[in-house]
């Protein structure tokens, strides 16, 4: 992990059209190159919103952000080449096979031919999906869909990957494979930004986490250091509950 800031977020605010309450209210963060960075927070905290702005899906209402030194407004096209995005919900064509989906998305990243075939084959084998390559997505189980959804965002070997709850709704085996793979990518130098509701998982995996609630940062730091600072709470989950309260969210 270097000290080079790869993502710089300053006073980011997002008010969705037709709502008066901001979804995020002035978030500022630095994410360093080579980190596995966890974005934590209860439902509706603003995690997906933050990631979406960084990927260029929404315009921020105010504030700024840079990825690898490039402003997300003015250099979106360059940024899109170096980021990989794994959406929270499976985003694949249900009537196409896994292979066809991956070929199309690979092409959209600008990869083609033998190189793409190798990348797809590699992705499928890492996640043990070789025999599902020619199955239509609609006929795959939820866990398989999630794994293919993940591969689709990584085909172009991005410098930075955003994963929105990649381990939700899948079995322990798949989760272990996914997390191991993320660690492996990270070892090769990829910066990983991911959101999760699993505190234990984040505590083990992340070099740093930020806890956001109702659109504001409530705490940030290395998870083990956070636990050390609050010995009375024993683990990240208790700290999380302490910081964000126990009321249910929408």
């Amino acid at each position: 992990m270097s000290e080079k800031v790869i993502i710089e977020i300053r006073d980011l605010v997002k008010i969705y059209k037709g709502s008066d309450e901001p979804a995020i209210k002035g978030i500022s963060l630095d994410i360093f190159q080579g980190e596995i960075f966890g974005l934590l927070g209860p439902n509706g905290a603003g995690k997906t919103t933050t990631i979406s702005i960084l990927c260029g899906l929404f315009h921020a209402t105010s504030g700024s952000a840079r990825i690898d030194g490039m402003d997300i407004h003015s250099h979106l096209n360059e940024i899109k080449r170096i980021i990989g995005v794994v959406p929270q919900d499976v985003a694949l064509y249900p009537t196409l096979t896994a292979w066809e989906n991956l070929t199309f998305f690979g092409n959209m990243y600008g990869i083609r031919g033998i190189k793409l075939k190798e990348k797809i084959a590699e992705g499928l084998s890492v996640f043990g999906l070789e025999k599902h390559a020619n199955k239509k997505i609609a006929n795959c189980s939820g866990g398989i869909k999630r794994r293919i959804n993940l591969i689709a965002g990584l085909l172009h070997e991005p410098k930075v990957i955003f994963l929105d709850e990649p381990t939700v709704g899948i079995d322990v085996q798949s989760r272990v494979v996914i997390l191991d793979y993320l660690k492996e990518l990270n070892h090769k130098g990829t910066t990983v930004i991911y959101t999760s509701h699993y505190m234990e998982e984040a505590e083990k995996l992340c070099s740093r986490v930020v806890i956001i609630d109702r659109g504001t940062v409530v705490s940030m730091g290395n998870p083990r250091e956070l636990v050390a600072e609050h010995p009375e709470f024993k683990d990240l989950e208790n700290i999380f509950l302490h910081l964000t309260g126990k009321d249910l969210r929408d």
Binding site: F58, K80, A91, L92, Y93, T95, L96, M108, R112, K136
Partner: protein, 433 residues
Amino acid sequence: MFKFFSACRKESLILIRDLAGLVMLFIMPMIMVMILALVQEQGWSSLSKDPSIPVLLVDEDHDTLGAKIQDGLKSSNIFKIFTSIEGKPITREFAKEKIAKGSYNVAVIIPKGSTKIIRHKVQVMVTQIVSGIMMPVDNPFLDIQSNDSINIIIYFDPGIKGTFKYAFMATMKEYSMFIESSMIFGSFNTELKKMFPQYRPPKTEYKESVFFTEIFPAGKDEKAVPSTTQHNIPAWALFAMFFIVIPMTGSMIKERDEGSMIRIYTMPVSYFIIFMAKVSVYAVVCIIQFILMMLAGKFILPLAGIPSLTIGSNYMGILLMMIVSSLAALGFSIAVGTIARTHQQAAAFGVVSVVVLSALGGLWVPVYLMPEFMRNLATWSPLNWAHVGFIDLFLRDATIVDVIPQMAKLLAFFIVMISAALFYRRINSPINS
């Protein structure tokens, strides 16, 4: 460029995977065109072959006029004349009641003494003329006035179509004119005979001497008679083609709902390339649809006795016209699909606007029958441009240069629609928010 081809490949694969849907896309418009053509042709042919439109005739005159009108209506082969029902002669009241109830559509009442009035009138007129020749001055006959007229009453079912009513009235007028003329002719003969006993009237009866020959000038091929089907098949085919708005917006909205579109927005590829790929693939669909409908008109409908569709010989022009018409339909679909948020919105707006644009464009009722202000509106409907273009190519053997105005307008419409979609995309975030 390869991103574009890859997107085309994806689009085609998705279409082919839904084989049932694809077959529907090709078969349904064909069926629509054939059924509409059959229904219409059947409607007209029943009018011309089978004397099946019943007409009640109340002949209170019992003289020449009544008999001639009856003969005339019979010989037109369109009407079946009833002078009595169940052995009883029809009376005025009875006829009125039947029409009011809707059991019959038309009743004609020839009042008592009609023939006498005509005869009298004609006699006065002929006498005036003949005596005027013999005695040009101080002729008492010349002051006689005959203002009597007869009033044939026609009851129409209120639900009857305007065109039918006009056709019937025209037929009736034609017969009464003819009858009046032949009576004048007969009277002259009688009067002349009285004055010049040696005069021998011609044996032949009075005959019409003005006839009408229908010719439809159509380029080299003068015989190309445009039946209604010739005009309507291209109209229906275009109507069906614009219905691509449903599958096209469906595919766009589905892509958005399934999340794939969101993923694409995070990728280094422009929205323009993605939807141009969609346009290209769907344009092929539109063109195949159109060709199938034309083939149905040319080869299948003749089996049912409908004249084979004439498509002229400018195949290059037809191909270009098919391409620009598809582009217009698809540009419209892209705009609707970009702005609509749900399938329901897109379908409701799409269907209604296609129906409105086709009605305005003269696809259902010819533009020249519309009121003035509607006629101006018609020139703003892309379906009108396409229809005019195809009719020119099919029936008038137009050259490509002749239809350039239509093609240019359709292409401009496409560009405006695409720009509107891109503009909307620019000012609104990719996902609706």
